[in-house]
Symmetry: C2
Subunit: 501 residues, 2 copies
């Protein structure tokens, strides 16, 4: 902004008949008119220019006042004097620097990892990286008929603006399914939006969140982008003992957990751990965000999963998130949230600043699918099919990967598998490398690091099995097997040997 | 949290044979066991309790260590010592205090005014408060057929997860309509979401936004909830001269404007003002958020509205927001955003943390409506119908309100009217009172104050005419007329008289 200053910094002519102030005025007018000083330039301070020119500050002040009177500059207390008339910057000016305008919060959104996962560029690859239900057995024809019915019978509600908290009929249906009041139900545009609303409602920069380690990377990135510090809780190894230490030590704003068919481990939190978690949360007055999108998708009906944290909660400290997208179809962008009314109303106020409410059409279709029994029939079909797919993937892993190279805790439901990769003699493999090589071989998977709020996961991968039929899974795991074999082969060469070759 | 302290603050017995430390330990154990000190209580600091009891700090420390060893308390550096064993708080404990957990940002969302406007409680009232197109002439049958076609032909894309930036086909169609590249188009869940994304991407607390005064209250509340300071720009009275002063003085993060059929004034920014705005914004390197949801809804084809700021922009500093909801149906929750790719990609990263992407079904329906010509045909029909409704409302205002009591600048398009209310001899009326009385009379309108980023609007109301047929408008304005007459009558009584009665 100080370009063009050469044009005015030469000493003034004290033998000139004009006053120093008018000489300076003329010089500045000329420099502005010629484009030597362009629009938007901040002129030197009066004091600074006076020193440069060896004149009094009054002289400079008089010149600036004259320029201001002529509409060429404008002074601003505390910011300086700016050129506001004259020549515009030329067309060779560089492109507008949007990067410089980004908010601090937005700079925390910079990790494009998930972006790449969602926007799968290579549509030819087999996608084991997206957590999704079996869309290929989705009852499209029923969906079409239900949609048609909704538009014939309820066009007004389908096309008009829904209340922020959701269509009253859908809220009532979901409330009935949960044995709660409609006032505790809010329809959301997917559980990711639920996490976003909760984050905006509860988290300040610097707040601590205690969460599953490993845990859902979308949650990790959302909390982090709000400036929160994440502390991992290892439910399996640390248990309630570790949790209590974390609660006392960090006084977190909330506890986040995905207790059923957890993403990424597939594990389900036991009833005693659930009870202990609730006891401690209540004791320390710390809310729990229970992210439960896979709840409806066990492989078998029995043994049933333990009750939800919300069902066990008698203190009103749980916000419970559910997904219709993860059950029916990702593209629906619909879920729901159960929460005590005071916090639900706060979440609605935040929601009002985003997409206001979910589309009426989608809400009415889901309501109709639920009340007509289609939803539950499809869930039953999904459970059988997902089990078949899990078994196909597990068999393929045993067939195509070297013995003992892939180990996992068998999930009893959900959409994915969490696999630890080692050499047959137990040396851990580099999951990032496997992810890279697998992508090159046409299989998209996610290595474990992004699932760890505070480091770890270097030797695990998440494999989503539910979205693809067994023959596709077979192809994908065969390719993955070759990738793992190659990694093991490289691993087997002692690094000393490599250095000698 | 310091309840139960009476139980331990009595002086210790120095004649007792046990050490002071073990006496204190026993006392604390007893108080915890009896429930006098409940779980979660923070004990006094060692120093504090030592002073209270008149013992050395070492004594207290020894007692606390003993309790810790027995698992009854846990000390945390910097936070104190907490009771972690013993009796749980009773069931008479008050409900969980969610309010105390709210983030600072969420506290700025507290104004429930817009919430009340969207969630209209009294469905019997005539609603002139929601800005919406004529849904009653919406081609429901065409929409139904198009939806059916989409689900028959493109079920996969309709139900699968859309890319974050939107369905490629819809982006291409919109890009073609704007003569731009699909990479500069992002599909959003309504313009309100666009404002939210822009806010999260660009605004830090303390940033300044220069915006239309009066201007869209949703924008005001969104910017404010991000902690921004809003500075109003009076486009009509202040013009470019005022804008330049504001830009120099406040160095805003961006300029927000709704230049065409503005909400609430209905005014359209002239071409010279648009040029001057762009020149100044470019000069001062300040981006412009051009909110243009009513762009497609002029009453007449000629004279055409001036080009958009984006069309006039040669420096890549404009983010342009458009709405399909405001054109087709509010419940669609769909719009689009045009922006230079670098900032569009940033907006997509923020979007990924909210609803990820808009539902595939809605996107494909809108694409089909556009490519099939239905969209443009409906827009043409809306323009005729909205004009008819505006004229009906204008005529009703002239018929039912006292002469000269309602004045407005006739809009040439859009969905609403901005009316200044006075007594026939020019004394301004209290718009808040009119809003209140009108609601009591079964007509919902919005008084002007929330449209003012920095005060004002006390005598204006916004009337949305497009959503209702002429006979409904007639009924509503007749009621409003009675309300205004009553207000004028009250106004005519000198307050001195009132005091004497």
């Amino acid at each position: 902004m100080m370009a063009g200053m050469d044009a005015i910094s030469a000493k003034l002519d004290r033998t000139n008949t004009g006053s120093l102030a008018s000489q300076l005025t003329d010089r500045l007018v000329g420099a502005i008119a010629s484009g030597e000083i362009v629009l938007g330039t901040r002129l030197p301070s009066e004091r600074q220019l006076a020193v440069t020119l060896g004149v009094s500050r009054t002289t400079v002040m008089a010149a600036y006042r004259e320029l201001e009177a002529r509409g060429l500059v404008r002074g601003q207390v505390g910011r300086g004097t700016f050129v506001v008339g004259g020549t515009e910057p030329g067309p060779d000016q560089p492109a507008f620097a949007w990067q410089g305008k980004l908010a601090h919060g937005a700079r925390r959104f910079l990790d494009p990892g998930l972006h790449r996962i969602i926007n799968v560029a290579d549509r030819g690859a087999v996608v084991l990286s997206i957590n999704r239900p079996a869309l290929d057995i989705f009852p499209v024809e029923t969906f079409r008929q239900v949609t048609d019915h909704v538009l014939r019978q309820h066009a007004g509600a389908a096309l008009g603006l829904s209340p922020i908290e959701g269509d009253p009929g859908l809220r009532a249906e979901i409330a009935a399914r949960h044995g709660t009041e409609p006032g505790q139900v809010m329809i959301i545009s997917g559980t990711q939006q639920g996490l976003d609303l909760v984050t905006r409602c509860l988290l300040d920069p610097g707040d601590v969140v205690v969460m599953d380690r490993p845990g859902y990377f979308g949650a990790i990135q959302t909390f982090r982008s709000a400036g929160a510090t994440l502390v991992g809780w290892d439910i399996e190894r640390g248990g309630a003992e570790e949790l209590e230490t974390l609660l006392v030590r960090y006084a977190p704003k909330f506890i986040y957990t995905n207790p059923t068919f957890q993403n990424p481990t597939g594990r389900t939190m036991s009833l005693p751990t659930r009870r202990e978690l609730l006891r401690l949360a209540r004791l320390h007055r710390i809310p729990i965000i229970e992210d439960d999108p896979y709840r409806e998708l066990p492989f078998h009906g029995t043994p049933a999963s333990p009750p939800t944290l919300r069902e066990l909660d008698d203190a009103g400290i749980v916000i419970h998130l559910r997904s219709a997208s993860k059950v029916l179809a990702l593209g629906l962008r619909l879920g729901w949230l159960l929460a005590p009314e005071p916090i639900l109303q706060q979440l609605a106020l935040v929601r009002l600043r985003t997409d206001i409410s979910s589309p009426g059409l989608t809400q009415l279709i889901v309501r109709e699918l639920m009340t007509g029994g289609h939803y539950d029939r499809h869930v039953a079909a999904l459970r059988r099919e997902h089990r078949r797919r899990y078994e196909a993937m597990a068999a393929a892993l045993q067939r195509h990967l070297p013995p003992c190279s892939a180990t996992w805790a068998p999930p009893t439901g959900g959409l994915h598998l969490w696999v630890r990769l080692t050499t047959p003699d137990g040396m851990p493999l580099d999951a990032e490398r496997i992810q890279r090589d697998a992508a090159a071989a046409g299989v998209l998977i996610i290595a474990g690091a992004p699932f760890h709020p505070d480091g770890g996961g270097a030797h695990s991968i998440r494999l989503c099995f539910a979205g693809l039929p067994p023959d596709h899974l077979e192809v994908a795991i065969a390719r993955l097997g070759r990738v793992v074999r190659a990694a093991i082969a490289d691993n087997a060469v002692p690094s000393a040997t490599v250095a000698l070759v």
